[in-house]
């Protein structure tokens, strides 16, 4: 099992009707990587995220998690694979009618055979991990943007996922709050050993946390493998350097 990458994407194409968003995507994400999917607005980053998480069937190609073909397994196996993923959505996507504690507890109650007291313990711990201890009984509408993102991260980690998929962690956050979220992501990787996929167009964040990356090109509708973003900035594809330097190189 050790040689099988956590995620492998093979010849993946995504389309809306006749409009191909991205085609021929091929990449692997190794254990413990922070893999950054970068690209400009409208290049298909979020569409790729939806194909990786089971929200939108790709037009062709395959996504493998630990060697299992995510889109071509039986529904119950797909659900089992989904449990290995923790997803943080762009806007947080916390369930607005539930408190933070209930948000984090719902996945636990759904999958794990745990007593309510045990669940409450785990929920408090996960919220403390993201710096939100004591906010158990708050509703999402009572939180700031940064707190919502952190709460969403706590929910994504509820089931101790092997893979965390994070959509635009820094969008809508001020630079310092975004930086703190980046630090949190790095710490989680180091302490939990999780594999993390980050979808981002925030340069500071990409350079700070990425260990491997691809660039989705909105003009050619396919990807450019870019490796470590810091190396891509120094000596990568001209198009990628153009992106990473805000058009000055």
């Amino acid at each position: 099992m050790t040689n099988i990458p956590d995620i492998e994407v093979r010849d993946l194409s995504m389309a809306y009707g006749d409009f191909v968003v991205q085609r021929d995507l091929n990449f692997t994400v190794g254990k413990g990587d922070i893999f950054v999917i970068m690209g400009g607005n409208g290049c298909g980053k979020t569409t790729l995220m939806r194909a990786l998480t089971g929200l939108q069937q790709p037009a062709s190609g395959a996504v493998f998690y630990g060697g299992e073909d995510f889109w071509n397994v039986a529904p119950e196996d797909q659900t089992r694979l989904k449990r290995r993923l923790g997803i943080m959505f762009q806007g947080g996507a916390l369930w607005s009618s539930l408190t933070l504690a209930e948000n984090v507890a719902l996945p636990l109650a759904e999958y794990a055979e745990l007593s309510p007291a045990r669940i409450a313990e785990i929920v408090s711990f996960k919220l403390a991990l993201v710096g939100l201890a004591g906010f158990e009984d708050f509703y999402p509408s009572e939180l700031s943007g940064g707190m919502k993102k952190r709460a969403s991260l706590a929910r994504a980690m509820a089931l101790d996922p092997e893979i965390l998929i994070i959509d635009e962690p820094s969008s809508g956050l001020d630079p310092l709050t975004a930086r703190r979220l980046d630090d949190l992501i790095l710490e989680l990787r180091d302490s939990l050993g999780a594999t993390i996929v980050v979808i981002s167009h925030d340069l500071a964040s990409i350079l700070a946390i990425g260990s491997d990356s691809i660039y989705l090109d909105a003009d050619t509708h396919t990807m450019i493998p870019t490796g470590n973003p810091r190396q891509a900035l120094a000596s990568g594809d001209p198009k990628v350097r153009h992106f990473l330097t805000r058009g000055t190189a």
């Binding site: 939806r50 998480t53 089971g54 929200l55 659900t79 989904k82 449990r83 993923l85 997803i87 959505f89 762009q90 806007g91 947080g92 996507a93 916390l94 369930w95 607005s96 009618s97 719902l106 996945p107 759904e110 929910r155």
Partner: protein, 387 residues
């Protein structure tokens, strides 16, 4: 206020001192701008310059030495002149314009106008629009059926004890649909009962059988009108709310969050709402029937001189248990229709605030349409079955 003269000089002045003057020498035209050029006053027309752009003019220059304050009024004027020159192939020298204006004009013309495909095709002739609407309706039909199937599967899971939703959600909806809808249901069913009584009184007087007002009101309210009125009230009150709630959750990706966790959003969100309405609408229907009969009683005793006991006995004689079953069954079906329409439109909602509004509107329209169709079908079926 335009005057031309033989030397090729013509002027056009606005009301607040702004002035446009053109001077032609050989192949070049000089446009002199002076005074204040702002949108809050009438500005000279661009046509004045365009008239001067005759075939011999090859070059356009500006003199803005006496130009005062200016805003978009001047910019749009100049942009129009530049376009007119471009069409005629006339060279324009912007050297005489202030630097700020030159920059703004350069920015406005930096990116050529895009011919974006797929826009503006919405207005066709009547036939095209009818055809498009019909095709959209039939495209929507499979989605409706799929949703119906998902709800059916969800109910199967409920009966086998595998559906997961929070009972507290259902109780919240029950409170919303039940007790909180009582005032409006009371008012409307009272007034409808009153209308039925007057309608009956007028017709039955002709045959001297005003006592049958009681039959008309009792059977009418309990069998048909109570359920119909309640269904329509709940469609406007609760169906729209369901669509807005689920639509907002769709916008916030909350529904996606359920799916990625492998939790069925139908079980978690649609089922409690469906159950709440299927439980509460029949009860409200029953209540509406009694309020309607109360109105009939008041009208008959106070206006039409029918004694309380006469009316009471006639009502008891007319009302059979089967009428209650018919009313209750209709209430249950209408409740299911409203929940179905509200949840369907909510789940189909797009990802914008505007889409949530459209979902709410569409939910009410769909619910009322479904209720009316169901009402007709059930009335015919019950008649044929002699229930």
């Amino acid at each position: 206020m335009t005057e031309g003269n033989p030397e090729g000089v013509s002027t056009s002045a606005g009301e607040a001192g702004q002035k446009l003057e053109t001077r032609r020498t050989d192949v070049s035209l000089l446009v002199v701008l002076s005074g204040r050029w702002c949108l809050d006053q009438a500005l000279p027309s661009r046509e004045h310059v365009e008239r001067e752009l005759s075939a011999v003019v090859r070059r356009l220059t500006f003199d803005a030495a006496a130009l005062g304050a200016w805003d978009s009024g001047l910019l749009t004027f100049l942009a129009g002149v530049l376009k007119a020159c471009a069409v005629r192939g006339i060279e324009v020298d912007q050297g005489g314009l202030p630097e700020g204006i030159r920059h703004l004009l350069a920015m406005a013309f930096a990116v050529p106008e895009q011919k974006v495909a797929g826009r503006g095709s919405r207005n066709g002739n009547l036939l095209v629009r009818v055809g498009t609407a019909a095709m959209e309706f039939f495209r929507g039909a499979p989605a409706m059926l799929r949703f119906l199937g998902e709800i059916t599967l969800s109910f199967l899971r409920l009966f086998t004890g595998r559906a997961r939703f929070r009972a507290s959600d259902m109780w919240i909806e029950i409170e919303q649909v039940g007790p909180r809808a009582l005032p409006i249901v009371s008012v409307i069913s009272f007034l409808v009962g009153l209308i039925l009584a007057y309608l009956g009184a007028d017709q039955l007087r002709l045959v001297g059988a005003q006592i049958f007002i009681a039959d008309l009101v009792a059977i009418g309210m309990v069998r048909e009108v109570g359920a119909l009125m309640t269904g329509i009230i709940i469609a406007g009150r609760t169906g729209a709310a369901f669509a807005a709630q689920l639509g907002t959750m769709q916008v916030n990706e909350e529904i996606d969050a359920f799916k990625t966790l492998g939790i069925s959003p139908v079980d978690f969100l649609v089922l409690p709402r469906m159950l709440a309405l299927m439980l509460m609408v029949p009860l409200l229907t029953l209540y509406a029937g009694f309020v309607g009969m109360l109105a009939g009683l008041l009208v008959s005793t106070l206006i039409f001189d029918i004694s309380f006991f006469e009316y009471y006995n006639e009502t008891l004689r007319a009302l059979e248990l089967k009428h209650f079953w018919v009313g209750l069954s209709k209430g249950t079906v209408y409740g299911a229709m409203v929940a179905f329409a509200g949840c369907l439109r909510g789940m189909q909602c797009g990802r914008s605030a505007e889409a949530v509004g459209e979902a709410a509107t569409s939910a009410v329209v769909t619910a009322i349409l479904l209720i009316t169709i169901a009402a007709s079908v059930m009335t015919i079926v019950y008649y044929q079955l002699e229930i």
